[in-house]
Amino acid sequence: MVRLKYQAVVIGASAGGIESFKKLLEEIGDFLDIPVMIVQHIKKSKNSNLAELFSGMSGLNVREAAPNEPVLPATIYFAPADYHLAVEQGRTLTLLATEPINYSRPSIDVLFKTAAEVYRESLIGIVLTGSSHDGAEGLAQIRDLGGCTIVQSPDEAEYSIMPLAALKRVDTSFTGTIKEIADYLKKQLADTV
């Protein structure tokens, strides 16, 4: 039986992330037939619902992650402000109100590590702009379990600290601009095994 090589994408961003997501999702929107889970560092406020902000873009199904929700194809999940987002073995979502990690809640590492344990070699992890070190450990776990690792080129990123930290920790599968990442992704997403 032919099936898609990759079954899920996880993306993490911090400072400067919203703009990058807009660009990236515009580029890959129509191609997406697997789930995408996103951690964008954000402070809790009246306007912190990123799913609301992004829904309506390119007709994709965009939602704020909720506990015990099954991970659905062609759907984008945002971690809510103030909760870690994680994936369970049964491919459902979990929110954790446990303490912030490296000053962040949601934490990119928590999402990446738990998703890597579930999806193993069929996971793609992407680290974008940001001024923290979050995501580097998680990306290393994705690599250790055979998944595909992508980092935005520090030159293009509005804040380069996070991509640099990830590149220092992991010899990535691909590094490039948002446009290049989108093209690379399209190829990967069409791959079957």
Partner: protein, 278 residues
């Protein structure tokens, strides 16, 4: 398999065995809690107490009572605050209190009350609405340590600024400082707020229903339960509520897609406030 994969497989087997040991030896049942959550806590304790492996922890679960308590403490997330999510309490004040007022007496159940901040918050609102005296409140948790703190009603003074602001955002018009006495480090909640409260140990996984409750608040507890356990507890709430009784969950929790969904109508979708159908 790569080294990391073997390591993971071993870890997952050990986690399952540890959870079994807890239920077999001590009756604490975490089998239907989020595995991710439990595993993260186990690994955190393993690292903090420098255990070589999870298997070594299993041995101590069986033979070392002290260790059991440390582990249980790390499993539970007790964070809470007064008038947490002020919009919820504003809704209570504006919509629910008048509904409660229509009953000759009112029974309220705070399930998973932790250190009690939520209980005092609601008591203040009931008092201001003039219905506190015809109310009976059950405040329950499965952790005796936090229950004791709830009963004492003593909180660090540095939180009070935030609590006062929450109180005001929740529609509070009185002076919040009338509800406590302060010393250098702490505030002590007015004992009259406790007059109608019974604090009791109750485990949502293993213990039974309360009867004829008008309002159940169970906020930020179900979030750590898997779907199966969440459904079971929602049925427990359904069976504990009187017809027309109100259920208030945490803002990330929902009865949507649960097996109890059709028994409730939604009063506020965003605030997660529901009412048992007649």
């Amino acid at each position: 398999m790569t080294d990391r994969e073997i390591e993971l497989e071993n870890e997952n087997i050990e986690v399952e065995l540890l959870i079994e040991a807890l239920v077999k030896k001590h009756g604490f049942d975490f089998r239907d809690y989020s595995r991710v959550h439990i595993k993260r806590r186990i690994l955190e304790v393993k690292q903090r107490l420098r255990y070589e492996s999870i298997s070594m922890m299993i041995k101590d679960i069986i033979y070392d009572r002290e260790f059991l308590n440390k582990l249980l403490l790390s499993f539970s997330i007790n964070y809470t605050e007064m008038f947490r999510d002020p919009d919820v309490y504003l809704f209570m004040r504006n919509e629910i209190i008048d509904l409660l007022r229509t009953f000759p007496f009112v029974k309220i159940w705070h399930a998973g009350c932790s250190t009690g901040e939520e209980v005092y918050s609601l008591a203040i609102m009931l008092k201001e609405a003039g219905i506190y005296n015809k109310t009976q409140i059950y405040a329950t948790d499965f952790n005796d340590k936090v229950l004791k703190m709830a009963e004492d009603g003593i909180y660090p003074i540095e939180y009070v600024k935030n609590y006062t602001s929450n109180y005001q955002q929740a529609g509070g018009k009185e002076s919040f400082s009338d509800y406590y006495i302060a010393d250098d480090n702490n505030v002590i909640m007015d004992s009259s707020l406790r007059k109608k409260v019974v604090f009791a140990n109750h485990n949502l996984v293993t213990d039974g229903v309360f009867g004829e409750i008008h309002l159940i608040m169970c906020r930020n507890v179900l979030i750590y339960f898997n779907k199966n356990l969440q459904d079971r507890v929602l049925h427990l709430f359904k069976d504990s509520l009187c017809n027309g009784g109100v259920l208030c969950l945490g803002t990330k929790e929902t009865i949507e897609n649960s097996t109890a969904e059709s028994d409730f109508e939604t009063l506020d979708k965003k605030l997660k406030i529901y009412r048992l159908k007649y």
